[in-house]
Amino acid sequence: MNPLELTLGIMTAVGGFVDISELVFAAKAGSTFGYALIWVFAFSTVGIIVFSEMSGRVAAVAKQPVFNLVRHRLGLQLGLLTLVASIISNLITCAAEIGGLSLILNYLTGAPYFLMAPVATLVIVISIWILPFKWIERVYGLLGLFMITFAVALIAIHPPWSEVAGGFVPHIPHGLNTKELLTFGYFCVAIVSAVMFPYEVYFYSSGGIEEEWGPKDLLTNRITSIVGMGLGSLLAISILASSAQFFGPAYVDPEIPGSTALQAAIPFGKWGLILALLGMFFAVAGAAVETCMANAYSIAQFFGWRWGRHKKPWEAPRFTIAWIALFVVALSIVLTGVDVMILVELAILFSILVLPLSYLPLLLLAGDRQYMREHANGSIAKGLGWFYFGVITAAALAAIPLYLLTAGGSG
């Protein structure tokens, strides 16, 4: 295990953890319910760690990325359904990320939103074309570490730490009426979905294959998943806690990403705001890359095309056409003028519906001793895996009714 590689891997995971949906829902969750939803972030983070570790292990041992498994384990028909659903979910998520990027660029430069969307997309496309996989992942992940500004801002405002710590204990706030309870339920489902987005696992496992992981990399995979995602989640929790401190008491509903950036401006002024916006920019740009590449990986793996950015773009032509076309479609969605926040909510909703279908084949293969030999799921991974599979299935069933009953969490 190379310590430098491990450190870079962890830092990349930390910087790449947060995306536009987490930015929005963490801030909204804090302003609406104070610290009461922190435990849902922590709980979901354990879930994404379990499945990421599993997908990395399967990539290292069975050399199989997620969508090869989806097709082989679910069969053509159900596999095709999963593929179409995940393409739609990732496409909407990618459009939400591009919309979010354009908003952030608009805050930073004052240039028009509709100009910034194609500019941001073009810059991302060029960076993916030029850089090999490892550098794509690292550039966006490491620059996303500017997001640490939010954690520092939280420390600077001296929140009531006992109340923040209390938020880690699973509970439902007392005294909520039925409407508020339903809204609380919707936020729980949305946070589970935002933290456990399926694209993260598609991208992570495909990345493992791109970097030619083998059994010797299993420890690195485990540490990167646990430490990187655990620390990344603390950034999202910092946003929630700052929001609970600033926005909740002032009855501010942080509907747009700009409100979230203000959390750093309050203790640190202009430079806090700029650093927060830069962190958001790179974190969201990284997520745009991951969602689009995850889609291209899924399609290529499902149909058995050549794939990967360890190859030159012309060495995997259908894969290259796929990711460029997906960016163009995502950009077109943004240019229709649809509200970024609507895209975020749709992304959350579609993702939770896809999650059980994405994670079931992974769970089955990671436990299969024929493929995984001595690296098959042990009792802890198996127990946690099936427990979280039950949770995401229940969340998927509850998502649409809760969305409709609460008008998308608006109460």
């Binding site: 069975a62 097709r71 082989h72 058995g304 012309w314 032509p317 259908r318 056409i321």
Partner: protein, 115 residues
């Protein structure tokens, strides 16, 4: 596992990725062709959207055919070196006609600019 061994076709062969002798992905086992009447034996692996017929509902197959055509490439079973988490071939994909779509797409991609 080798193609001569006893295999549970549906669970272990169908929908597995094909990897050629140069380590490149070159398709998926979309269907399987048999030979014989009394004792069935594997004849070829069928690759391509045309092999979806009968595996997905008819309206969906109609859509697939409109979008991707109904091409089928047959990979003779004696070209299969091993069957595991992928099906490994003992030749380049091109030799059994598996690279046509990839080559056609390649004409649209400019060379250069990538590190």
């Amino acid at each position: 596992m080798t193609p001569d061994g006893r295999i549970k076709l549906v669970s272990e062969l169908l929908d597995l990725p094909l990897v050629d002798s140069e380590g490149r992905y070159c398709g998926i086992v979309d269907d399987i062709e048999f030979i014989g009447t009394k004792e069935l034996k594997l004849k070829a692996l069928m690759v391509g959207p045309g092999a979806y017929e009968g595996r997905i509902p008819r309206p969906l197959f109609w859509l697939v055919r409109k979008l991707a055509g109904d091409r089928i490439t047959r990979v003779p079973i004696d070209r299969v070196r091993s069957i595991g988490s992928v099906v490994k071939l003992d030749c380049a994909g091109k030799v059994v006609g598996l690279e046509r779509s990839e080559d056609a797409a390649g004409k649209w991609i400019p060379r250069g600019g990538a590190l």
